[in-house]
Structures are given as C-alpha cells and as structure tokens.
C-alpha cells in the first residue's frame, strides 16, 4: 500500500514538472494563432481557423529576420573567439612555469564574478572603442563574459590528453605551435564542440548587455527584438504571441535535433 502511493507520488511529481515545462509553451504557440477576441474569450479555446496572419503581422511590425541574423553573427563570433583563446590558454597552462597557478586561478576567478555590476565601465569601454551599437561590441563583451566557463570546460577536457602523446610529437620534431595545431586541436575537438554548444546557447540568450549596448534594429539581437513587442504593442497580444513563438522556434528546433549532445554539453560545464 505504502509502495503504491509512493509510486503514485513519484509519477505525480514528475508529471507535474513535465506539464509545467511543456504546457505554457504549447499554449503560447496555439494562442499565437488566435484573434484578439478569441484570446479574451477563453484561455483554453482552440483557434477558429488556423491562419498565419499574426505571424505575418509580427514580421511586418518588426525586422525579426534582421534580429535573427544579428543573433547568429554575435553568437557565432563570440563563441569562436572564446573557444580559440581559451584553447590557447589551456594549452599554455599544460606547461610547467612559475606563474602557472596564478594564471589559472586568475582565469577561473571570473566564474565567481558576475559582470552585471560592471555595466557602466563596460559601456564606457565599448563606446570608446567605437563599438557602441554594433554587433562587434556585443560579441566582444560576450567573449569575455563566457571566457571562464569556456576555459573550464576545455581545460577539463584537455587534461584527458596524455602527456606522452605530446612528448611523442615533440620527439618527432614538432614545435610549440606544431604540437598545438597538429596534436592538441584535433584531439580536443570533441571537447571544443561540447564547449561550443554551451557557449552558443548562453550567448544567444543574453539580454542585459544586448539591451545596454545597442539601440538600432541593425545591431539588436532577437532577445531585444521580442521585448519590443511588449513595450510597443501591449494591446496587440496576438502579434506579441506570434513573435515570441517565432523567437522560440529556432532554439527548440535545434534542441529537437541535437537534444542528447546539448544535454551532454550542459553536463560538461559541471564544476568539478
């Protein structure tokens, strides 16, 4: 009897969590097809006819495709930059030298410092560099913001490459750079891919600095773009629903295709 109710409680618990994770999204997508009167009539109703009018209207109201392109550029550039410089740093730290511990501690310390209190100086730096209101300024800030996590994932992975492999390459006459390009990079590639997925998702999703460092649609990301539907079109719910659903679609689609890789990559960021 106790066992039966424990099992029931377990499934009720899991079922509730799954429902909370999925029902709001499903509701949002279904609602995006409704007209305003339909939305106000009942939260549960199914749209009378499934038309894409709201989606078309949302695309007309805001340059969502431009926002999307900007998000892709920012996330791709920032992720590449973070991967390249953290791989280089992790490789350098495989060598023994006096300040090794200090350098490693310095790079990891960033994990504990949130960047939001630094809004003003970062804004100031980006403006001085002439990168205010550009995708490049955002990409630069994101590459620094994600550096500690990228470094952590890559370093953990790189430690699994045995020293003998590097030694063998050196005996064959490979230089410092040669070992990096021909041994480290190929062997660490799976780790780099893991890190890239994690960084991509984080860069893609950032809102605060995107809001702070861009003002015109030519440089704004998708996250900033969708929030304009709330401020500018508060009364036009269907359009806002449609825009939110569209902004959500690419990530959900990518996840549907790669869910196991994505989960593994998130798990790899686990601090050891």
């Amino acid at each position: 009897m106790v066992q039966v109710s424990a099992r029931a409680a377990k499934w009720l618990f899991l079922g509730t969590l799954v429902a909370v994770s999925l029902i709001p999204m499903a509701w949002l997508v279904v609602s995006a097809f409704k007209t305003t009167p339909e939305l106000f009539r009942s939260a549960f109703s199914v749209p009378h006819h499934w038309s894409f009018d709201n989606f078309r209207a949302a695309l007309d109201a805001e340059p969502l495709l431009t926002y999307f392109r900007n998000s892709v550029v920012v996330a791709a550039c920032a992720t590449t930059a973070t991967i390249v410089i953290s791989t280089m740093a992790a490789y350098a730290l495989r060598h023994r030298f006096r300040l090794n511990g200090v350098a490693r501690g310095f790079l990891m310390a960033g994990l504990l410092v949130p960047l939001t209190p630094f809004m003003t100086p970062i804004f100031y730096i980006i403006e001085r560099l002439g990168l205010y209101n550009t995708v490049w300024g955002l990409a630069l800030v994101y590459s620094a913001m994600m550096l500690p996590v990228g470094f952590l994932i890559i370093r953990t992975y790189m430690e699994s490459i045995p020293e003998e492999t590097l030694e063998a390459a050196r005996i064959d006459g490979a230089s410092f750079h040669g070992v990096f390009l021909r041994v480290i990079v190929p062997l660490a590639a799976p780790g780099l891919a893991t890190a890239a997925i994690f960084l991509m998702i984080s860069d893609w999703n950032e809102l605060l600095f995107a809001n702070l460092l861009t003002t015109s649609p030519a440089a704004q990301t998708l996250q900033v773009g969708v929030t304009t539907f709330l401020t500018g079109y508060a009364s036009n719910y269907p359009e806002a629903f449609a825009a939110t659903a569209m902004a959500m679609a690419p990530t959900i689609l990518a996840y549907a295709l790669l869910s196991n890789r994505v989960i593994d990559s998130m798990a790899a960021s686990a601090l050891k």
Partner: protein, 287 residues
C-alpha cells in the same frame, strides 16, 4: 621546453581580455562609486554620498532584499527539486531519458522568452493561470498576479523555481559517478531506497551541490530578465533587484556614479553570499 615568449603569446589574449573587461571595470566602479557623474563631462568627487543615498533609498533596500530572496528561492526550493528529480531519474524508471529530455526544454529557451511567456501566462484577462482557476471553479483565487504588491515577487519567481532542467542534468551526471558497490553495501545493510539516497548518494555529491549553490548565487546576481520584462521592478519597487537597479540608475536616471556604487554593493553582497555557501560546505565536511 616552452619559451616564455611562446607562453605569453598563448596566454596573452585571455589575460588581456579578462583584464580589460573584468579587472579594469572592477577597479573603475570602486573608484567612480565615490563620484557624481552623468557619463558626459568630468566626474565630481562626493565621498560616501552615493552609499548614504543607497542606504536610505527604499528602492535599493527592496533590491537587496529581493536579490537575497531570489538566492534563497534558488537554494532552498529549486535545488531540492533538482536533487529530488535527479535522484528519481538516476534509478532509471520507465521513460527516464524522455523525461530528462522534456524537462530540459526550458533550459535551452532564453530567459527573455520564458519571462515573456510567463507574463502572458499570468495576465489577468487572457492568461492560462487565471483561465484554469476560473474553469475549475476557483474564480475567487484569480488576481492580477504581476501587479499585486503581495503576489508580484512570488509570481516572477515561478518559472525560475520550476524550471529545473539544468541543475537536474548536472546532479544526474554527478550521481552516476557514485560507485554502485557503496549503494549495494548499504542495501545489504538493510537501507531502503530513501535511506540510500539520503545517507550515501547525497553525501557523495555534496561538493557538487555546494558548487551548484555558488553558480546559483552568480546567476541570481545577474538575474535581470524576469523583473525587467514581467514587472519592470513594480509595483512600487516590490520586485526591484540589484541588476535592474543598476540598469535603471544608469540608463533611465543617468546617475552613473550611483549605478557604480550600487554595483560595488552587488559585488560585495555576492562575495558574502558565496562565502556563506563555502562556510556551510566546510562545516558539513568537518562534522
């Protein structure tokens, strides 16, 4: 043997980037927190006046209290939910992989979109929450969740607390590293499933739990989307938090000096919260 020049070339970019966008800003806000500055023109040294202002500002007090509240909600509500789910799924019940995949969906969607979605969910007229309450005959419980002074702060924490995918996956990975033999030994000693979880698995992953708590503290200090999108800090600053306060002082009020002083308080508060987590961990390790 690697030469110093080569090491510098490989370490240089990461060190320079961290110096420019972490260390320099940290020094900058500490110094400029003592000034009055509107971003343009010279800054004026005003001593501790910014900090005195913050101390007396009800909106800032609300920001500090709510930031601590977010942290507490993360550590005492969200984390246990993550752990419980991970413990259940680690026993590989039917469809455990599917459940893991589904629970993780909100973790890949941006917080911006989750915040917008829950803004709609909690809308008094068209939201699913009030709609459901009305349809099951609990119309008396419906309310304007996000504009009620008593409900707003709890309402914006709902998605944060219930979306457990990330933590669950991390704990699940850690639990899988607990040696099977230890669990079997406990089982032979007559421990039931719950006792095994409580006395073997949880102590074995305590460091991961503490590190997760550190991560949550950092996350909560960065937390911006939920208050910014769902309530904009309102009603009457009831949902203000530190990130939004710094943002508002800088972007809306153009009070750069004050924004940076608030930033310094954020850094200090973060360090204190993280120290608490580490002290608790040490205490657990010793006892």
């Amino acid at each position: 043997m690697a030469k110093a020049r080569q090491l510098i070339a490989y370490l240089g970019p990461s060190i320079v980037l961290s110096l420019a966008l972490v260390v320099f800003p940290l020094g900058f806000i500490v110094v400029m927190g003592f000034t009055e500055w509107a971003g343009l023109g010279p800054a004026k040294y005003i001593g501790l006046q910014n900090y005195v202002f913050l101390y007396h500002d009800p909106s800032f007090r609300s920001a500090v209290v709510n930031t601590l509240l977010w942290g507490a909600a993360g550590i005492f509500v969200q984390t246990p939910l993550c752990l419980l789910t991970a413990l259940i799924l680690s026993r590989r019940p039917t469809m455990w992989k599917l459940i893991r995949t589904l629970l993780f969906v909100p973790s890949v969607v941006s917080t911006t979109i989750l915040a917008l979605m829950w803004y709609f969910m909690l809308s008094p007229e068209i939201g699913l929450v009030n709609g459901t309450l009305t349809d099951v005959g609990l119309k008396s419980l419906t309310r304007s969740w996000l504009s009620g002074p008593d409900s707003a702060q709890w309402a914006i924490m709902v998605p944060f607390v219930l979306y457990i995918g990330f933590g669950m996956v991390l704990f699940l990975t850690q639990i899988s590293t607990v040696p099977k033999e230890t669990l079997e030994a406990a089982q032979l000693d007559g421990a039931n499933v719950w006792q095994q979880d409580l006395h073997v698995t949880l102590p074995a992953i305590r460091r991961s739990i503490a590190l997760w708590a550190l991560f949550l503290v950092g996350y909560v200090l960065r937390m911006f989307e939920y208050p910014y999108i769902m309530t904009d800090g309102g009603p009457v600053n009831k949902t203000m938090n530190l990130s939004l306060y710094v943002y508002d002082q800088m972007v809306t009020a153009n009070q750069y000096g004050l924004a940076m002083a608030a930033g310094v308080v954020t850094v200090v508060l973060g360090a204190l919260m993280m120290s608490c987590v580490l002290v608790v961990l040490r205490w657990i390790e010793v006892s």
